[in-house]
């Protein structure tokens, strides 16, 4: 008798716990994050590449002033997260600052890719570094750790402090593909930072440092270095003379509809592309 009572106590308690857990997770079932984007007070969520993020914020701010009631959430995460978020429909739009890999297309066959802009990757150094021109080979040797002193490049007798992005970063993937090639690897001793902004902060405050940086982040706190005599500027990248250029992508799961489509249309419109140019990127139209 007494033991049945105890068992009941146990069962009831476990049920209650189950109910609690269910209550905690309940909101996931009806709404899910990707709510109907065509509704009036809709939210469009973007996530992914930190390179595309500030541009997307800016485009979103402009688009929202035209469409009051619409809310656009722009989150970071990195290119791989962008691909995953679009592929699994956890975000309406994914952002990626590199080419989409075959393996990713195989995993998410529904992905639609929109190239919204092109971006150059500049080599930047601390402002006090006297070197202002490098060849692609020299850049490769610096980042792979073959050249470790500025004096070998015509600078002071000081160690080169290499700063790089994390694995998984679109900027890093594009840099590895276009500069490092198949065989050379970025030295393990490089300082690693998690975003373009962090790279810029580190390079501008660390003497004798060098890094690669998206065009959109160039400013006078870091020194841009020419590649084979070509300066990293938007016109040079647009006419093809600057060698390190990659696409900025937005991804959707299937054909976009409603406000998602409207937002993408806006980005590719003349007004949207004007904002792209303002931020130092290369327009696609």
């Amino acid at each position: 008798m007494k033991s049945t009572k105890k068992n009941i106590l146990l069962v009831v308690s476990l049920l209650l716990v189950a109910a609690l857990v269910a209550a905690c997770s309940a909101p996931s079932t009806p709404g899910a994050p990707a709510a109907d984007p065509s509704a009036d007070n809709a939210t469009v969520t973007l996530s992914g590449s930190t390179t595309v993020q500030p541009l997307a914020e800016k485009l979103a701010e402009a688009f929202m002033t035209e469409n009051t009631g619409l809310r656009i959430d722009v989150q970071g995460g990195g290119s791989s997260v962008g691909v995953k978020a679009a592929g699994q429909a956890t975000s309406d739009i994914g952002m990626a600052s590199r080419e989409i890999k075959e393996s990713e297309l195989a995993e998410f066959p529904n992905l639609k890719i929109f190239v919204i802009a092109r971006d150059g990757i500049a080599i930047v150094a601390h402002p006090d570094v006297p070197v202002s021109d490098l060849t692609v080979e020299q850049v490769r040797d610096i980042f792979s750790g073959k050249i470790t002193n500025w004096k070998d490049l015509g600078g002071d007798d000081q160690n080169i402090i290499v700063v790089s992005r994390e694995e998984g970063s679109g900027t890093r993937a594009a840099f590895e593909e276009m500069v490092m090639g198949e065989d050379a690897l970025i030295a393990a001793s490089a300082i690693l930072q998690a975003s373009n902004g962090a790279i810029r902060t580190t390079v501008s405050t660390t003497p004798y440092s060098i890094a690669y940086l998206s065009f959109g982040y160039l400013d006078d706190t870091v020194k841009s270095i020419s590649i084979d005599g070509v300066a990293p500027t938007e016109p040079n990248a647009a006419d093809g003379s600057y060698p390190i250029v990659r696409p900025l992508n937005m991804l959707t799961n299937g054909e976009p509809a409603g406000m998602v489509k409207a937002f993408l249309d806006f980005i590719l419109s003349e007004a949207g592309q004007k904002l792209v140019v303002e931020d130092g990127y290369i327009p696609v139209k």
Partner: protein, 300 residues
């Protein structure tokens, strides 16, 4: 059964359910982190993860030994700097400071514990890193073990100091009286009687500090440089070891989790499993020491 008796029973079951929620959370944490890491363990093998120093997700290499060494080194540095200060502070608070001074120092220690780690990280980035950079050694970027150890030493000081102070205070007053009556000075009493008597509690405090140090994340990302290398001296002088950049287990997870997919993501969860295991061992040993001491106190 009357209505209020039924209510009484119902409440009991609800309370019971909330009492065991902690168990469920701990199990769920273990379960989910381990489940997500299985892919990495099976596909790469335990040895490939634990005993390799090369972490190159692009090349499918996921050795975390460099991060284990990084976490241990920075913790060691923090203990080296923080423990003398924290112990001194605890002795000061428990045995020496007049109560007016205590009422200033103790809230200060508490406040040190409450300050967000990002604030320490910011302070480290803006003040410590440029200071460390002034040490003239080739390849010294300022980011690295030294700056991280200093930041971490300050962060674990409150933990160690408060546990050690409690341990010192728990030493029975008649130990001190006895020692003083035998003609020992106050300082002799502290070093020869009080500290040995409170030893296990003090050690437990230090171990808890180690646990905190191993688990700290954001402040570490901000000052340690995050390079995936086994830290080593920058020049012939072995002390320059502390100028080397490094990466902690926690930093590895936080910096890359948002960028990772597939095996890479799974390897980060494997990093989490290793960290979780390390911390459990550290905390369990601290707990068993504390429990042992309570047992001794009771026996006395």
């Amino acid at each position: 059964m009357s209505a209020r008796m039924i209510a009484d029973k119902t409440v009991k079951y609800i309370l019971f359910a909330s009492a065991i929620i902690s168990i469920i959370i701990v199990l769920a944490i273990g379960f989910f982190i381990f489940r997500e890491s299985i892919e990495a363990w099976t596909e790469l093998g335990v040895g490939e993860i634990l005993f390799r120093t090369v972490w190159r997700p692009g090349q499918d290499q996921f050795g975390i030994l460099a991060m284990i060494v990084g976490s241990v080194s920075v913790t060691f540095g923090a203990i080296l700097l923080g423990v003398p200060l924290a112990l001194g502070c605890a002795i000061f608070l428990a045995e020496i400071a007049p109560s007016a001074v205590q009422s200033v120092v103790r809230p200060a220690v508490q406040l040190l514990a409450g300050i967000p780690s990002v604030v320490y990280g910011l302070f480290g980035m803006v003040i410590l890193v440029p200071l460390v950079r002034r040490i003239n050694v080739p390849g010294n970027s300022g980011y690295g073990l030294l700056a991280a150890s200093i930041v971490l030493a300050v962060m674990i000081l409150p933990t160690i100091a408060s546990v050690a102070e409690d341990a010192i205070r728990a030493v029975p007053e008649n130990y001190r009286h006895g020692s003083l009556a035998l003609g020992a000075t106050k300082w002799q009493t502290i070093t020869k009687v009080v500290l040995p008597a409170g030893k296990s509690g003090i050690i437990a405090g230090v171990i808890l500090g180690v646990g905190r140090a191993l688990g700290e994340t954001m402040a570490m990302i901000m000052v340690i440089g995050n390079s995936v290398i086994v830290p080593k001296p920058l020049s012939g002088n072995p002390l320059t070891f502390f100028l080397s950049q490094a990466r902690t287990l926690t930093g590895n997870i936080a910096v890359e989790i948002n960028y990772a997919t597939g095996v890479h993501e799974s390897a980060l969860f494997a990093t989490g499993v290793v960290l979780f295991g390390l911390i459990m061992i550290v905390n369990a040993s601290a707990r068993s020491i504390i429990r042992g001491q309570k047992f001794i106190e009771k026996a006395n």
